[in-house]
């Protein structure tokens, strides 16, 4: 009898650890018309194309699912761009095939970034924030609990972001974007991550690639 109690305890203790193995961070593909030629000028001007991939899946009712990688092209970030802020966002869903979520955290870190140099665009120029979380009692970290698209600017036209890609850091542990504080029954949770850059007289440079890794961690 004591042994069965032990087994039951083990099952309860390990269930969340087992569940994390199947969680997936996926990129929600936007409505194509949002970025298409029929989109309002302001949207097409301010938001570059979002590229994401779909991959095969054996999920019931789905031939394919969005993959966990996306590219946001913000275009020209020099002062040629008349936009107050250039921005892009991604709707992300977290998938749980088990049909429930224990408390978890979404974390992020920067993987790579532009080379530092005088006048260069640097990771601290890229504002980042989390909005529209659909999860069980989410608590967004104060550093990222702001929509960078609404950031004000100082007298030199430099945005004043609450959180930036630089504040994510590049190492471990990753920075926490938000955490949930309860169990959630369902297959999907959602959140939106927003990036914004204020056009400035940065040093001219070709394609600038800034990678951000997102991760789900239980607990």
């Amino acid at each position: 009898m004591r042994a069965f109690v032990g087994v039951a305890w083990l099952l309860l203790a390990l269930a969340p650890r087992a569940a994390v193995a199947q969680y997936e961070i996926e990129i929600e593909l936007p409505d194509p018309t949002f970025f298409g030629p029929d989109a309002p000028d302001e949207i097409r001007h301010r938001i570059g194309p979002l590229l994401a991939e779909r991959v095969a899946t054996d999920r019931p009712g789905e031939d394919s699912r969005p993959a966990g990688i996306a590219v946001i092209d913000l275009g020209d970030l020099s002062s040629n761009n008349p936009a107050f802020l250039v921005s892009g966002w991604i709707r992300i869903r977290v998938y749980s095939p088990s049909g429930f979520f224990p408390p978890y955290r979404i974390e992020a870190r920067a993987l790579s970034g532009p080379v530092p140099g005088p006048g260069n665009l640097v990771p601290s120029d890229v504002g980042v924030g989390v909005i529209d979380v659909e999860a069980q009692r989410p608590r967004i970290d104060p550093d990222f609990d702001s929509d960078p698209r609404t950031a004000p600017k100082n007298v030199d036209d430099e945005p004043i972001f609450v959180g930036t890609v630089a504040s994510l850091g590049t190492g471990f542990p990753r920075s926490r974007l938000y955490q949930t504080r309860g169990w959630y029954v369902g297959n999907y949770n959602y959140f939106t991550i927003v990036f914004a850059v204020g056009p400035q007289f940065y040093t001219p440079a070709g394609t600038q690639d800034l990678g951000v890794e997102l991760a789900i961690v239980l607990g």
């Binding site: 390990l14 990688i69 996306a70 946001i72 030199d156």
Partner: protein, 231 residues
């Protein structure tokens, strides 16, 4: 025996659950891609009249797009007793790369020939002066390191006159008829946007006319178009 079996079962459960973590796909990546093109901007900053010169920019807000109108009014000697009339239009230029600024008279009317006693484009003196770094967000020292093209560095409002009271200008807007580079220089702006007061170089572009007994003409009008490029 029963206890042993139970422990084995527990061990199997643990074994079946632990390896799953090793195959977890619990991360995703977002790549933000962009580029920084060469950029330059030229804006109106202020105006200092010379005697009876009157002017305004549209819009009349400092740092607005450059679209300035300078009215020198009557430049007939006897009616206008000033030595010179005109003014200095101060502009702010910004760039994230080396620049050159060209000026060209793109339209004119009412001007005639000197031989016929008319006021001519050669009677409108022109020059650049007052190069100033606007603040701490300037990249290096473009005010010192820029090069004004020969002939354009004199202030026409202080040009000397000959015995007939005709100005002796170093340059006039007639020199701009075909479009000419008037200044070139290094990168001006160290980040910041077009609204920053601290990341530009101020340049005075001065125009001056010495009143004379020209043939009566009304109006006289000339348009000078500036082009700031980052080659």
């Amino acid at each position: 025996m029963k206890k042993t079996l139970s422990l084995v079962a527990a061990g199997l459960v643990v074994a079946s659950l632990l390896p799953v973590d090793a195959f977890a796909q619990s991360t995703g990546n977002v790549n933000i891609v962009g580029r920084v093109d060469k950029a330059a901007a030229i804006r109106w900053w202020s105006f200092a009249p010379t005697n009876s010169g009157v002017g305004s920019n549209a819009p009349a807000t400092q740092n607005g797009a450059l679209d300035f109108s300078l009215d020198v009014s009557d430049v007939a000697a006897g009616n206008n007793l000033d030595s010179y009339t005109g003014g200095a239009v101060q502009m702010m230029i910004r760039s994230n790369a080396p620049f050159n600024l060209t000026a060209q008279v793109t339209a004119s009317s009412g001007f005639g020939s000197v031989a016929a006693g008319d006021i001519a484009l050669t009677d409108v003196g022109f020059g650049l002066s007052g190069l100033t770094n606007s603040g701490p967000k300037v990249f290096g020292d473009p005010a010192t390191n820029s090069v004004v093209s020969p002939g354009f560095s004199a202030d026409p409002a202080v040009a000397s006159k000959d015995v007939d009271e005709e100005p002796i200008f170093s340059a006039t807007i007639d020199d701009l008829s075909g479009g000419v580079q008037i200044i070139s220089g290094p990168r001006v702006s160290n980040r910041g946007g077009v609204g920053s007061p601290n990341n530009g170089m101020l340049i005075d572009t001065s125009y001056a006319i010495g009143p004379q007994f020209y043939s009566p003409t009304d109006p006289i009008q000339a348009t000078v178009t500036y082009t700031l490029a980052t080659p």
